[in-house]
Symmetry: D3
Subunit: 249 residues, 6 copies
């Protein structure tokens, strides 16, 4: 049995608090076990230079951890004067994942920035960020509909993410920090509400893995993500009915 | 009457949630009206190079705002690659203020870093950071006593901080953002529990001020800080009885 | 008696050499005891982006020390690749102080940059910079009047600054370096020629201070600043008669 | 048929020139179609700070492109003053992949740095870098054996990498630039000589993908990597017989 | 006799491979002994801000070494976050030298960037870069003529460069690394095909030198540069006949 | 005749004020015409890492201009966050030039840093810096002799520097800014008191130059430098007799 008593295919308790930050167009506090992330969505009526004049919108993300989100204090990246490679990799992943379910043409020439700030970390911060950012983004885009700036929500499907891995030879769903640090194989999976993969990132630095192991892990992830999407629907309330309305023709 | 119905000499509602972040040696979420700051205290068994070999400890602070703590999103300092002048000024102030009530000799060759991260801003973020960081620091130092590393708390007095200012000709206590942005005179005051000044920073960029106005503002601040210290005592519970034990001989 | 034989309420000898740098629109070498600062004022017919289109001007400042202005050589900030917190704090203070006596509407959409470069330091470099920069600014603005670009000097009042502090229990005016490094309370005061405060920055990191001590220090500063304004008038010569002409209606 | 006449499951022509740079302990020029990368391996008798005193070695990588490796000139990262997110992500991937087949205990407290510099780019620069860096690393480590510093090659298996993707609905092996830029699904696969996965990174930003599509792509990659390992063996000559000798017990 | 058997006034074997990088408008691999540099020329239909609206073009250069071009690995400047002084000095030299033989008015409002990337270093990397960059530039500008964008090549003369120095009291042409590191006097000379000096940079940090020594070194350089220009003509083939056509009136 | 009435082979009026900055071990204010530079020499009892354990000292230089040293204000390099190429090139030149007349073995394991800060610029700032820095260095080293740390001055010869150039076809000595900006050939020469060259840096970006022109310019420079050395002797007073005592055996 796992340290916190979970089954191998069981998610940690998950809680999404919407409208957590009053200034943001959309925001949540998402808690997955002891991992806690504030996700805010900012809508701006402009796009970055490389997107100008294409009649399309843009969705991007930034990710950070408070210095004491972790057991040992981390120096701030602002103090070091640059973003680390891990941070850049994660924020590129979050942005790419969210764009996969947004109809950028329908969004119009505006941008949505998702800020994912980890206030307490216990494994799975990047996957939790994606799951939370999706809800913050949907809340923010719903305001564009409510304000009459958009006729329907430009979101084509649900999107959530979870980590899976092989620890002591056993495939596990939703690794917490103590599990993650012992995993021989570690995989982050991002899926849509209709069960397609958006990102599969598996790494076997400690021990290469077989096709069978890969398939077992993907099945575990699929189960977890289905549960997560149910939680997203609860947090979104009436907004949940609008998801998918803007599917690409 | 003020926009939120307060008297001119009245603080906003204030709430301190101790032990907010599980990994930190000390931590609080402090809320003063709509301003919310996470303060964590990290204890490390080493001092910065310039303090080595003096048999004394060190207390320092860092300050940051989440990008969407404010009405308009601010670019991250980590993304810009450097800390802004305002940030540096504030974190220097917080560190200096806290050191004024710590007996660094009694602390021994260890350092305490206070991280103050504003998750929602509505005026008074630097003063709220000081008030919250004091509690986080006391909680962290109490652990050193509980672990037998220190024989008594090396804190000589309580410490809290509030802003005051002159808005439309009226001296006000504890400015919220809409008041702060209209103030002609703006002052941040840091005081000890026994009523002495640690920092007085008054600025009249919009309108120079007289000695009388200065004295009126200081009196307002003194009242507010006394109330804040009562809230700190409640949050500290039994630890509150230990403050002052380590007063400098 | 003080190390240099001064009374506790006595300024060091002060000398202002106007027109010290030939290329600048306004410039001085200001010497206060052994502290020497070159202040230049640069007028440019544009304002920073955040001020555009408001029909107002801008006044800003930069501060630096030559590496060997101090007893021990300091590494250049250009070599370190960033400005330190102390530098940023000081240049924000200088800019804010000078703006308090400028009618920015009357200045029109142009900017004045005050560069304060300390070539030799012996305490009070920030206050000396303010006192010198005021004169450089007035000289530069007078050229705008002489050239017909402005009808009158957009300066509402004189402005000077001095440090005060408590050293070995005694309140002293105009601390030199050896005094400053032993001060328990340290305060920088910026005042107008008509005796109002623009900035009061007192810090008691070593020993908190009472309201009475604060008032004693402010009285000392007031005396010193009156003397300094007389020196500014001498340096400005006929320009001195124009100060205050542009007072805000 | 593909633009260059290849079958969908066919690699581009591949050429590995060993000992390309005379100063490096190991080096190759690897050409895969029009993509050309210089890979050098540098052996140093020290490890980074975080690895000290563990009796283990370290393998790391850096990746860069010459400004005109691409159709449009890219600004140098040295001129911009920081590494981009894509570069960091790639060099982290290369290092992680190579470490997966190195017995770090057997390597001892020394480090091997793989520099992968793309001199001409036509798709697949990260996968080509991994395939080439493996050979450069093996050549460099063989010198440690030849010099008597190691008793056997601390490499547990072969390692190579290729890209696969879905373009116009067709799964393709080894995408060149024109294919890569149109791919809806894009995947980079790193495998060992014995057919296990070390990294699987699939992304469907343009179109999410199914489990079946994933499996088809992995099968294509497996075929390509087998061919690549044969080319690595030819380039390594007699050194090829030593690979696997250092397998972890 | 010299370590590689050369006469004191003899160049190392030199080889220029034109069209080395397919994407660039002009490119060469230049090898002078064991020193190897990839030079690419990029033509862009715009000029830097300081040149706008003058009806003239611009030629500039960047220089870099791969980390393992040298015997000991050098940290990348991109990783350090800034260009070193040596790099800046060299790229300023290359740009200035090339501009001396370009008729910028005839080039029109476009810019040519020469990227010189040293892949293997054995002395003389800056002079080899100039000699190679000249050929890459001529090839790129010839394309502008071939495309009808220019009526004739805007190059006024040939240009090549070589190092000379005094080693163990003997004046030598074209120093390789082992010679360069022992030289008491070290000089880089850039000359035109018609025998005029463009740059003379002599330094006697180890031993000041006389006018006679200077003249001897310049004569050596002149001989070497004449030979180099012949190699440039061979590499340019039919383009060589166009050089000088654009001489300034 | 030249704009300021000088002959073509005539220096501008030159003035060296020794002991200009009280904290530095050696310092001067040097004025050559309207160009004014503060040079300080700092002695530290340590050498940079790359010189450790060799029993030798080190001499290095830093160069900067105050923002308003020039007609148009220049942004500070500290504000831009990096040194420009011109600055790096100049400070490397100054350091190299001064080391050429210092016996580093005799200096012992200590370093001398020359800070050259241009407070007003009118051409020739780098050459003026070298001429002034030599005097500051000699004064600082003399203190080492006076304190008994060295038995004799480790300086082997005088050293001074001047610019020469061809303006409107005429060779001129000691260019002021208006001449420098029109020069077709521009050369900086550093010579010893005994008439040997330490640096010759000639550039003909605007018009290549012949051997005869080069020789004419060198002769002009030689005359100017002889005069400068006489001024250095006057400024050094009794210290001047010690120069050359430490000549390398």
């Amino acid at each position: 049995m796992r340290a916190d008593g979970r089954q191998n295919d069981q998610l940690r308790p998950m809680k999404i608090t919407p409208h957590y930050i009053k200034h943001a167009e959309g925001s949540v506090l998402i808690e997955v076990g002891e991992t806690k992330v504030i996700c805010t969505a900012t809508v701006e009526e402009r796009v970055p230079p490389f997107m100008k004049g294409q009649g399309k919108g843009w969705v991007t993300a930034e990710y950070s951890m408070l210095p004491r989100a972790t057991q040992v204090r981390n120096q701030r990246e602002a103090a070091r004067g640059k973003l680390g490679g891990r941070t850049m990799e994660i924020q590129r992943l979050i942005g790419r994942a969210l764009r996969s379910v947004v109809n950028l043409e329908a969004l119009g020439e505006r941008s949505v920035t998702l800020d994912c700030d980890v206030i307490q970390a216990d494994g799975g911060t990047r996957t939790t960020s994606i799951t939370g950012a999706f809800v913050a983004m949907a809340l923010a885009m719903e305001k564009l509909v409510a304000n009459g700036k958009l006729s329907k929500l430009p979101i084509t499907d649900y999107l959530a993410s979870v980590s899976v891995g092989i620890v002591n030879g056993k495939p596990l769903l939703d690794l917490m920090y103590t599990e993650d640090s012992q995993a021989h194989v570690d995989m982050n999976v991002v899926m849509t509400g209709t069960g397609k993969f958006v990102e599969v990132q598996g790494t076997g630095e400690e021990a290469p893995f077989s096709r069978e192991e890969l398939n077992t892990l993907l099945a575990l992830a699929e189960g977890g993500i289905n549960t997560m999407v149910e939680e997203q629907k609860k947090a979104l309330g009436r907004v949940s009915g609008l998801i998918g309305a803007g599917a690409r023709a």
